[in-house]
Amino acid sequence: MEEMTLGTLIAVFEEMFGRVLWWALVAAAVVVTLAWLYVLIRDRRVSWRKFLLAQLSMPVGAVGAVWFVMWITNSGMRDIGGPIDWIVLLGVAVAGAIGLAMLVYVAQSLLRGRVTSET
């Protein structure tokens, strides 16, 4: 590899997913994150009830992400070799956990509306 610049990385991701899908994915991730921030600011606090449900979805997100990556790349747990493989695996799991948790929290907040009191 000549240089690992941000430009190269973006070019590679655009090729991987296709330009439209890649930027749509980026936009979706940004929108979900912004929606989450918006909801936090709107409510001026975290709703621990919604947070609980979001937390419970984390293992599902983690396992789902790992399964998905292994499925589309024709590989399995037996292919985990050195430490870097464990780091990648954990990274995928964490990304899946956080992503799904955020989505679940945001979905609840936008669907149910502002929290006025905790029950």
């Binding site: 590899m1 000549e2 690992m4 610049t5 941000l6 430009g7 190269t8 070019a11 590679v12 991701f13 655009e14 090729e15 991987m16 912004l34 921030l37 918006y38 600011i41 709107r42 001026r44 990556v69 589309i72 790349t73 024709n74 590989s75 399995g76 037996r78 292919d79 985990i80 070799g81 050195g82 870097i84 493989d85 990648v88 695996l89």
Partner: protein, 439 residues
Amino acid sequence: MTDLSKIAASRRGFLALAAGSAALAAGSGMAPAQTVRTGARIVILGAGAGGAAIANRLSERLSGASITIVDGRAEHYYQPGFTLVATGLKPARYATSSTGEWLPRGINWVREYAAEIDPEANRVTTTGGQRLDYDFLIVATGLTLDWDAIEGFSLDLVGAQHGISAHYASPEHAARSWQALDAFTSRGGIGMFGRPATEMKCAGAPVKLCLLAEDIATTKGNRDRCQFVYNAQAPNLFGVPVIHHRVRQIMDERDISYRYQHVLKAIDPGAKTATYTTPDGDKTDRWDFINVVPPQRAPQVIRDSGLSWADRWTDQGWIEVDMHTLRHARYANVFGIGDINGVPKGKTAASVKWHLPVVEDHLIAQIQGREGTRSFNGYTSCPLITRVGRAMLVEFDYKDNLTPSFPGIIAPLEELWISWLMKEVALKATYNAMLRGRA
């Protein structure tokens, strides 16, 4: 503080804040390289990995230049994908696209082949009779596969019926090669693998196919029915000593036998035998499956042009370029990119990736009347797949030094999942970005 949170809490305010931050982030982009004004006529022979990529790069950097690219083939092949097709991991269309989709606008694409190259007169004549005069010539023709050099072999024999694999030929032949391998790993027998004595593109690919075949047989539960024999042309399994030992160890662990200095010269598809030249004379062996990788040479038009080395690789004809600048040793306005180069190492797509900025630098420097500064160090990369799901990222340079791209993160001689992920998911994308001149 409360005012800000009031602004942010209103939907409109929040969106405005977010848009503002995004604009700031986008504004801090990278400055593009300087464009150069020139009336130079540049002819590029070949629109493969090297040709298409350099066309994009030069078209971006040069304003006013006349760029002509010569290639008669409508299909563009992603050759690093051939091994994946030949082992059933991808369909043939994975490795096929169209030449046209990679070429930039504003250049002239001559859909013919070079019939005659005259570097003294700075002219290329095409098979259709067009005369292309040039100020700069970039030779990126790639190499030809000399199938006729293997007696008894013909490309229509490839497939499950005869148990013959020849995955270098094309995506379609790679797919038929998979059918042959699939049948062999189900039925069992003796599988022969090997490589030619000439220089070749991706010296690792014959090894990859052998290791993957063994893995596939194991996954199917038929390993005890299959025998694997790798025929190395040299007294080693790989040119770089440290990698040779790693590969040898893997083959020993997986009970794959190997023979040194065995070069395939003939096959008999009816009797299912193969004849190898060895230091002790010819040897003939039986096989149930054989992967044929032929001797490789420069295209005849190159060999007739006077661009080849006169005293090296005389049976192959690679062009005589400086190993660091890739400029022709005798014609200062001729450059080489990719497999056609007569340099000690590097007939891989990864090497092409490094050739591009070097040629771009020296060519543009020459237009501007100054010396270029970039240097090619022989970088070659081979993601040596050892089984479905694992690969060893093998990278080295002219000095046989290991030159990992991700030092401290991806260990060079380890079979890792991440290297497989890169090969499966990121490599083709990186290759495509390279074609567009963006990587």
